[in-house]
Amino acid sequence: MTDDALHHTARRVRPRGRRLGDARAVLAAALLLLPTAAAVLPAQLGAQSTQAAAPAHHRVPRRLLYAAIGAGLGVGLSSLYAEGGNQQGTCNSVACVRIVSIGTGTFVGFLMGREADKLHSIRYRTGTPLSPKMVTTDVAPDPAVLAVADSVVAVAGPGGVDVFTAARAGLRTPPVHRAGGVHGITAVAVQPRSGALAVASPAGLYLYPPRSGPGSLLREGAATAAAASGDGRVFLAVGTRVEAARAATTDSAHGWPGLDLGRPVQELVYDPARNLLWAGTDSTLYALRPVGDSIERVGQLAMGAAVRHVAVEGTRVAVALGESGVRLFDAHDPAAPVEQLHWSGARFAYDVALSPRRLFVAAGSEGLYVLDAAGGSRLVLGLARELGFVIGVETHGADTWVLDRAGPSLHRIATQF
């Protein structure tokens, strides 16, 4: 008898226990593969839905899909069984095995599918899945701050600031590392046009010349926020004060003119179009205006929560308020902004970005929520979970930049995807 024949014979008379053992292994593997196989489907569905400007999401219930796959596996396994001989035991007929296999496969598939459906409904209870096309690059661990100006994208973390080119190919070239070794960076402001950086840290505010060169101390003291204008002015927050400085000045003994807001300032955003400076404290949003070498108060609005980040687009201002969600204001009159929207669908709004038509909400482990900022009939356009643990988002024209702490990575998506 040849080896082949031996092998063939052995296969034919393989005991049923072994066959069942194999069948169990196949079943186990198949059940493990169920979510993977099915994961392909929602991604495709998601992509279709986003390309169609997020219409109502149509998803095949996984309890049905998995049950069907389980039933199919049952059919397959029972067919394998039917090919074998030596059928012993209580339920040993092919018909019985087929019924049990299909029944078990369907039931297990149904249970797994039901879990998947539950998870899906919890994940996307506020918005349907979105899968925007993205370009991604890795960033250093524990990124904390994202800042974008017309020419550069800056990501700050414990090891300094990585500066990427904001051009479309920017993420394909390695970043330039700036502010190396600066510990506990709380904010970064990129000066429009020049690309110079203002880096706020517990040790003070440091200014970095465009492209390369070490930083110079502008202002001692724990700086918590920074903003920069295109004309060389830098605005910074130290404790409860908001101050203005010229980037060209590096005399740290200078007494900086500014304004005391009475509460710790956590966010500063400069609106060049209207020469307005928006400041957020642990309870209030302030509209300030740089006048001469100082700053004056234009208006203020109680937020009822700590202001984490502010985004400005035209005459509208969006505010991320952590567990209190996001508020959107029409600040045509900065002295008396009018609320247009208060949305608290996210567990925690880490950051917010605003374009003429869309409001992006960085929602941490939930992902990135996309809201309709143009007053359409459907407020929440969807949720992009694939973007990771989103802690920062910035919109700049056609591009929106997303900072993912889990990756850790920086994603670029189209603002109007």
Partner: protein
């Protein structure tokens, strides 16, 4: 259940129980004398239960049920008390059965009372075969509470449901699937092969995506819903905070803790959790403030145990520590934390804050009300307190073949691995119970690890980027005659090059300080100053010098440097013994090893070290071709007939450990004139000897220095020894220093 935990549970039980009793008017008929008297008995029983007399409390409640057989709260309270005095398992089945019977009776009298249904669910939770049924019962209770709009009941029930999901999540979190032929993680193999754990975690297993996410999210929803109903619900708040901490959602954790503390400012554990969140957000100062608040709010006994050093001492010292009284412990605590404080220049003690954060985490994460476990006492809690957050955490499904034997049957294996120490610990516990103990022989492994490293604060050193300050201490006789002790001069090389390497700023503020304390830890010298330095990288150092006359005694010195922009730090510390110099016989100062020494004035006879330019070498490190400079002072030389002193100086350079072989050839090229030109050659040891006559002043202090060309001495570690013999009095004194020669 331990004796210590039982009264706590009882108290928790009767407190919870007391609240619904007041609101259970549905089955109570005002004005009914029997009901009133039963009500009084219930109150009395609760008082007795709080005092710890469960038997009498049960008897009193039984009387109440007999007096008013249609008074539901009496049956409920009796069932509750019976239930709370049982623990999970089959051992208390009969008592639980009795408890369920009483509560069923209460439910007959007051159908759909959410509290009664809740307690039935809790009883099911304690019954191994009925745990799954508990969830259904809680949902029934929830529906009842919703229909009654009772926020207190809603909070309690939602919390219990959240706990079920939370425990399931903990079992599934960090789940990995083994690849290859392995079916389960093998603790025995992990013990036998030190590479096994690392290899399994990094190469032979894959994380299971989204494992436990559904349970996580459901738990979060229910905890939040519980807090919505009752913002001051501490168990729900702690459950939610634990979930947020597990997912590293520290910003959210901080906000949640603050919101909870606004509703419940006196919650010690709320402050502990807030401190933990702030610590993880790198805000140590406010974190420490919250830890302090928490410790002030907790019962003194609990604080004593929770913060005891015995967790982080080796077993022998821990036993001694545990036996000591409060005063002695307090002294040890203080001395310990003082010694391990990484930097005195910074306002807090980073190591202590880290320790409290670990305790807070262990308490939050591993506590189990169900089992009466305090998290920081558990196996996992103790390991966490000693070694901090593991580099990798993994859980593995129970072994389908039960290869580990009966003990591991159906248990989830949890593996913690630490890098770079390669310490690893394996725990096993039943699924969905948030309980795990050392697997296999890992208790012994942990004891062994504890012997070698009772605690590690690697994470603190890493966070502070802690470098080493090279320190050379030289003790000289005080200049004022009759002064006891010594003038101690501390020379330090602050490694500014390494500290500011890659720090991208023009100028950096560098703070330096010296702290010398005596055996009672009283500071006898504390000096701080700051300078602005330019980061240039390399091995550049900033040499600092401090001098102070100290009385005889034992001291400890610390020299520290801190750069606030990068957070880089460096320190040098060690013992500093000080003795007096004899006034009537020969003695000598320490040998001062320097990079360069030159007299300040060629015309003047030097009287002490201030008459020299001295560039000390605190690192005792020289490169090939360098010149070794030595300075020392002789005191109390006897006068000969002419009033002069006569000394013999013998210098020995001994090679202790060679990096690369070569001949040892030295030559004196400067310093004491009598010695210049002397040379010596050898394989591993050279000695130079010369005699000299010195004119003695009234102070009887003779300064000396030598410049020695080390030639092409091979790199290695050496000992320089200098022996001075008073040829008039026949006495000798010697001093030595280690030096290191490195390749250029």
């Amino acid at each position: 259940m331990t004796a210590a935990v039982l009264p706590l549970l009882l108290l928790a039980g009767v407190t919870t129980a007391a609240r619904p009793a007041a609101g259970q008017g549905t089955a109570r008929r005002p004005g009914d004398a029997r009901t009133s008297s039963a009500d009084s008995l219930v109150e009395l029983a609760l008082t007795r239960a709080r005092a710890g007399d469960t038997t009498l409390a049960l008897w009193t409640l039984e009387r109440a049920t007999k007096i008013a057989p249609d008074y539901a709260p009496a049956f409920y309270q009796r069932g509750l008390l019976l239930s709370r005095t049982t623990s999970l398992g089959l051992s208390d089945s009969w008592r639980r059965h009795q408890a369920a019977k009483e509560i069923d009776h209460a439910l007959d009298l007051d159908p759909n009372n959410p509290f009664y249904l809740l307690e039935l669910g809790r009883i099911r939770l304690k019954t191994p075969l009925l745990r799954l049924e508990a969830e259904r019962m809680f949902h029934k209770a929830l529906a009842a509470a919703e229909s009654r709009h009772d926020p207190r009941a809603l909070a309690d029930i939602r919390f219990e449901i959240a706990e079920i999901y939370g425990r399931r999540y903990e079992s599934m979190a960090n789940r990995r699937l083994l690849s290859g032929t392995q079916e389960a993680f093998d603790p025995t193999a992990a013990l036998a092969d030190p590479h096994y754990t690392k290899q399994v975690l990094l190469e032979l297993s894959q994380p299971l995506p989204d494992a436990g996410e559904l349970d996580y999210r459901q738990a979060e929803d229910y905890y939040r819903a519980a807090l919505l109903a009752d913002p001051a619900h501490e168990p729900a708040a702690l459950g939610l905070l634990n979930l947020l901490s597990e997912a590293r959602r520290y910003e959210e954790m901080e906000r949640t803790a603050r919101a909870f503390l606004a509703a419940q400012p006196g919650s010690a554990r709320g402050h502990l959790a807030l401190g933990l969140a702030l610590h993880r957000l790198d805000r140590d100062a406010p974190a420490q403030a919250d830890f302090d608040t928490a410790l002030a709010l907790l019962p003194a006994d609990e604080v004593r145990d929770m913060t005891a050093l015995s967790s982080i001492l080796d077993e022998e010292r821990a036993a001694t520590y545990d036996r000591s009284g409060d005063a002695a412990r307090s002294q040890v605590d203080s001395a310990y934390w003082d010694a391990v404080d990484p930097l005195r220049l910074t306002p807090g003690n980073e190591a202590h804050t880290e320790f409290l954060a670990r305790v807070a985490y262990a308490d939050l994460r591993f506590s189990s009300a169900e089992f009466g476990h305090q998290g920081w006492r558990t196996d996992r809690g103790q390991i966490y307190i000693r070694y901090g957050e593991p580099t990798k955490v993994a859980t593995f499904a129970p072994d389908p073949d039960n290869a580990g034997g009966g003990e591991s049957f159906g248990r989830v294996t949890t593996v913690w691995w630490y890098d770079p120490s390669n310490l690893y610990f394996v725990f096993a516990g039943p699924p969905a119970m948030n309980v795990a103990t050392f697997a296999g022989d890992f208790r012994r492994y942990a004891a062994n690890a504890r012997y070698h490293a009772p605690v590690l604060f690697d994470d603190v050193a890493k966070r502070l980027r802690l470098d080493t300050v090279a320190v050379q201490i030289a003790r000289f006789r005080p200049e004022t005659p009759g002064t006891a002790g010594a003038e101690v001069v501390v020379y330090a090389d602050v490694p500014t090059g390494r500290m500011l390497r890659d720090v991208d700023i023009n100028q950096a503020p560098l703070e330096t300080g010296i702290f010398i304390s005596d055996t009672s830890r009283h500071l006898v010298l504390a000096a701080r100053d700051s300078a602005v330095v330019r980061p240039r990288g390399g091995d550049r150092v900033a040499t600092r010098t401090w001098a102070r006359t100290l009385a005889p005694g034992e001291y400890v010195y610390r020299v520290e440097a801190h750069e606030s922009v990068s957070g880089s730090s460096a320190r040098g510390l060690g013992p500093l013994p000080v003795t007096s110099f004899p006034s009537d016989s020969l003695s000598m100062s320490d040998l001062l090893v320097a990079r360069h020494i030159a007299p300040r004035s060629a015309g003047l006879t030097p009287r002490n070290r201030r008459d020299y330019f001295i560039a000390p070498n605190p690192a005792f490190r020289f490169a090939g071709g360098d010149t070794l400079f030595l300075y020392w002072e002789e005191y109390g030389l006897a006068r000969d007939a002419a009033g002069n002193g006569k000394v013999r100086v013998q210098l020995t350079l001994r090679l202790n450990e060679v990096t690369r072989a070569g001949d040892l050839l030295t030559r004196v090229i400067g310093g004491v004139a009598d010695a210049v030109g002397l040379s010596a050659k050898g394989d591993d040891r050279v000695a130079l000897r010369f005699d000299r006559t010195v004119a003695l002043t009234s102070e009887n202090r003779t300064p000396n220095y030598l410049a020695i060309d080390l030639g092409h001495a091979p790199p290695g570690t050496y000992t320089v020894e200098l022996m001075v013999t008073d040829l008039v009095a026949g006495r000798s004194a010697r001093r030595q220093r280690p030096i290191r020669l490195v390749s250029q």
